[in-house]
């Protein structure tokens, strides 16, 4: 017993390192499934508060770029106003009443772009109506999908997270695939599941498919940058440049699909049938 005590005393430094290292590695392993340890989460109260306060200082320095971006988006939206259409079209545009998608403006208060599991924190949460699995877009294009929500904050898995998957199609060609990201560059991603026979060209625009009921159809995701036959037997190897600049993204919109629940329930019923 005394010997054991002496050994512990003698090697206390190595033992302490060993124990602490095991604690940290356990934390690391458990966190691979994104954000399981909720107290670490930056949507938790204290860290969220700190980042929010810091953002209120920092925001003044990017006002000019933000203005430009918002003016550009305004321009696009103005072009879609129903006054611009001929009478017959405007009657069509008024539709039959149900608004499928509504948007909540939000601000990115924390993010990372140089990791494998990148993430973002937004300054709105469940009190503002945000729920997990809602889409997030920036003026330039798709950003990601909401993962966790607290009363005042929410975390987002952006496209540039190795765990993200996004159903997309090639604009004007009606071929569907998925976007995935393996790192390391936050500016590019991969387009998968496009078969050989599809005539993909450099410069083709990739947009959301609307399949998952998270995003509306037709929101820009990126532009095809490289097409090759790759190693796979059936599918092309396609690299795209992402439309969203994840380094600069600041103002975003969270998209609520008002009939998503209905769609999901119906699909589940059919699936179980």
């Amino acid at each position: 017993m005394r010997n054991l005590f002496q050994i512990i005393l003698r090697f206390h430094f190595q033992l302490l390192y060993f124990v602490l290292m095991i604690i940290s590695l356990l934390l690391l392993m458990n966190s691979n499934e994104y954000h399981e340890t909720t107290w670490f989460n930056s949507s938790s109260f204290v860290t969220g508060k700190v980042y929010n306060t810091w953002y209120s200082v920092r925001r003044y320095f990017s006002l000019r770029q933000e203005n430009d971006r918002l003016a550009m988006e305004n321009n696009i939206l103005k072009n879609m106003l129903k006054q611009n259409y001929l009478k017959e079209d405007s009657q069509l545009l008024q539709g039959s009443g149900t608004v499928q998608f509504s948007y909540y403006p939000a601000i990115v208060i924390n993010k990372s772009v140089n990791r494998q599991k990148n993430f973002m924190t937004l300054n709105i949460g469940s009190l503002s109506g945000v729920e997990p699995e809602m889409g997030v877009v920036a003026p330039d294009g798709v950003v990601g999908i909401v993962r966790d929500v607290s009363p005042h904050f929410s975390t987002v898995i952006p496209i540039i997270n190795t765990g993200s998957h996004l159903s997309v199609k090639i604009r004007g060609k009606e071929f569907f695939g998925t976007i995935s990201w393996e790192g390391p560059d936050y500016r590019t991603a991969r387009l998968n599941e496009i078969p050989f026979h599809v005539p993909v060209e450099i410069g083709d625009i990739i947009e959301t498919s609307g399949f998952s009921a998270i995003f509306p159809r037709g929101i820009t995701v990126g532009i095809v940058n490289e097409v090759s036959r790759g190693t796979d037997d059936y599918f092309l190897d396609i690299q795209i440049i992402l439309a969203t600049d994840f380094l600069k993204v600041n103002h975003v919109m969270v998209i609520r699909n008002n009939v998503r629940k209905e769609q999901k329930e119906l699909e589940q019923k059919t699936g179980n049938g």
Binding site: L16, M21, I23, S24, L27, L28, N30, K111, S112, N114
Partner: protein
């Protein structure tokens, strides 16, 4: 001694704020991220009991991890850095050993000593941090280049901080 401790505590707070709020969103050339908060471990006194160094590293890593949502990552890197610190100090000790109240200080120990001391320890820290983050070796050389470039950026900042923190020369 008490004064020295409060100076270290003050620097810890300053560095953590600087790291979390400013440096964590700095990406030189798109992916080079300096980690200067490890300076806290560098300025600990030479004769500090090693296990206290480990505890400091533990809480330092924990704080960083909490703010960057990387449970265990910074912690493992800072712990390993603190673990190797006594060995590195022995390795580069001057022939006659350290004086009783010696501090790991650029002015006191000289440039060559300080460069080896901080360079080695920061390299250990960055190596572990970046490879734990990637967690696989498929991007081995890309990650290694990130380690090297971040190391250079961190070292420049650490030398700047060191010049700020040290006592004016008599």
């Amino acid at each position: 001694m008490g004064k020295n401790n409060s100076v270290i505590l003050l620097w810890t707070i300053v560095l953590l704020i600087f790291q979390i709020l400013v440096l964590n969103s700095v990406y030189l050339f798109g992916f080079v991220n300096p980690y200067v908060y490890v300076f806290v471990i560098l300025i600990l006194p030479i004769d500090l009991r090693p296990w206290i160094g480990l505890m400091v590293a533990f809480f330092l890593g924990l704080t960083l991890d909490t703010f960057t949502d990387t449970p265990g990552m910074h912690m493992a890197a800072t712990l390993t850095m603190a673990f190797f610190r006594p060995a590195v100090l022995r390795l580069i000790a001057p022939r006659e050993g350290y004086e009783a109240d010696a501090r790991p200080d650029l002015g006191e120990m000289g440039f060559y000593w300080y460069f080896r001391y901080s360079g080695l320890l920061v390299f250990i820290h960055h190596l572990l941090l970046f490879y734990l983050e990637v967690f696989r070796f498929s991007h081995f050389f890309h990650t290694l280049s990130r380690v090297m470039l971040s190391w250079i950026a961190s070292m420049i900042l650490i030398f700047l901080f060191q010049i700020l923190v040290q006592k004016p020369q008599k």
